[in-house]
């Protein structure tokens, strides 16, 4: 066996042991996460912690809960910007909102809200479209740390590009109307903050907790491997009311899930689906 294969196999063994240790000690099961992404984030974490091997990281994480917190933070996706994908918000406004207007009440679930930027963007959109009074917006994430950031309503101060994205997303006012500036931070308006129900929920393990007319789950399932993503789709399907809307990321699809036949894609919306069965 060559040196190259040997060291690759050793690293892969160390990775298995680390994931098994994390699961048994802390209950976080990362084994079904997308392996290439997981490995990349873990290697970056190793470099930042100045460690040489996954074994060394395993030793530290098993003996020190704070090191485990650090690991989980390293695995989370870094904060996004408000309206970072204007095309989606634009399509949502044009194609989904008119149908939502006919509903007496609307429950919306934003899955994998992270530190909340896109949840606030969604809230702004619903408010501008006059749907806010009959809307309940739930936002969930597996990470309690990110959720508390989201709940605080304090985001990085939007810049010119964010303001441009907001306009491109069909914004009707000025983005600055929705927050007050505090140094380099933006404190979101209390009406937005208080109207969002942030709740801890792990799509990988937790059951569906309500029935929704809209489920927004964009780029969240990228972190999972195919079998876990498939199970997550089961949760999403169970959580959607009939004729409800499922909003995925621009490069995500229901095509390879068991629920492909239950959805119809809305044309030219960049992956907004309607549950039809």
């Amino acid at each position: 066996m060559s040196v190259a294969t040997n060291s690759a196999e050793l690293e892969s063994l160390e990775l298995e042991l680390l994931l098994e240790g994390v699961r048994r000690q802390y209950g976080f099961d990362l084994r079904n996460h997308s392996r290439p992404l997981l490995v990349r984030r873990l290697r970056r974490h190793l470099r930042e912690e100045r460690l040489d091997t996954f074994s060394a990281l395993q030793g530290r994480v098993l003996h020190d809960p704070e090191a485990m917190d650090g690991l989980l933070r390293a695995l989370a996706c870094p904060p996004d910007a408000l309206f970072s994908d204007p095309a989606f918000f634009q399509a949502f406004r044009a194609r989904v909102v008119p149908l939502l207007r006919t509903y007496p009440s609307i429950r919306v679930w934003h899955v994998g809200c992270g530190s909340g930027e896109n949840t606030y963007a969604l809230a702004i959109l619903l408010m501008e479209e006059g749907l806010w009074p009959r809307c309940r917006l739930y936002a969930s994430d597996a990470s309690e740390g990110l959720l508390s950031d989201a709940r605080s309503g304090v985001l990085a101060l939007p810049g010119e590009e964010d303001a441009r994205n907001y306009q491109e997303a069909g914004g009707r006012r000025a983005l600055t109307d929705y927050y007050t500036r505090d140094g380099n931070w933006a404190v979101m308006h209390p009406v937005l903050r208080e109207g969002i129900f942030f709740t801890q929920h792990n799509l990988a393990t937790d059951a569906s907790f309500n029935e929704f007319q809209v489920v927004v789950c964009r780029d969240t399932l990228l972190a999972y491997n195919r079998s876990l993503a498939s199970r997550a789709h089961e949760r999403l399907y169970e959580s959607l009311a009939r004729f409800g809307f499922l909003c995925l990321g621009r490069k995500e699809t229901v095509a390879r899930t068991p629920y492909a036949a239950a959805y119809e894609e809305l044309e030219n919306t960049g992956r907004v689906y309607r549950r039809t069965a």
């Binding site: 190259a4 997308s34 290439p36 990349r40 870094p78 990228l222 993503a229």
Partner: protein
Amino acid sequence: MSLLGLLVVGAPRGASEELEALLASLPSSLPVPVVLVFHRGVQEALAGSLGRRCPLPIAEPDDKEELVAGRVYLAPAGYHLLVDRDSVCLSREPAEHGQRPAIDPLFESAADAYGPSAVGLLFSGHEDGWAGVAALSARGGRAAVICEGGAVEGVERVPLSEVKPWLARLSYAPRMKVQA
């Protein structure tokens, strides 16, 4: 010694014409998937223009799409494109070397997933991709930088005009490893 399993290609923005020429020169019976990162802007629709003269079908894959031999997978704007054993994985991680998609994530994931059967070609002109070339070599794969002049330390280089025979040698003959 092992057979070719995957070809990864990385190209900075300045190399679009050379990249088009490379894609045009790929054999229509290429027995492996080709995965491609080109430094691109957010709004560009590229698959059509880059693949104009390419004999293989070229498309921007969805997340977790299966890799099929004889197809070209182009990284979509705004996402890193990585590979697993038989499928692509997209990621919204931050830009690397100022780029998203970036070349290093693709090359390094190819080195992990395909080891000695991964082959990488990098167009020079940007700092992104060199770590990936090193990772491919470290895992026993074959990697070369496409450039005309100027020796590059420790890295194989191939002129664009020689890429076709270079690839043909790799795809059709079991290759000998010189280094252990």
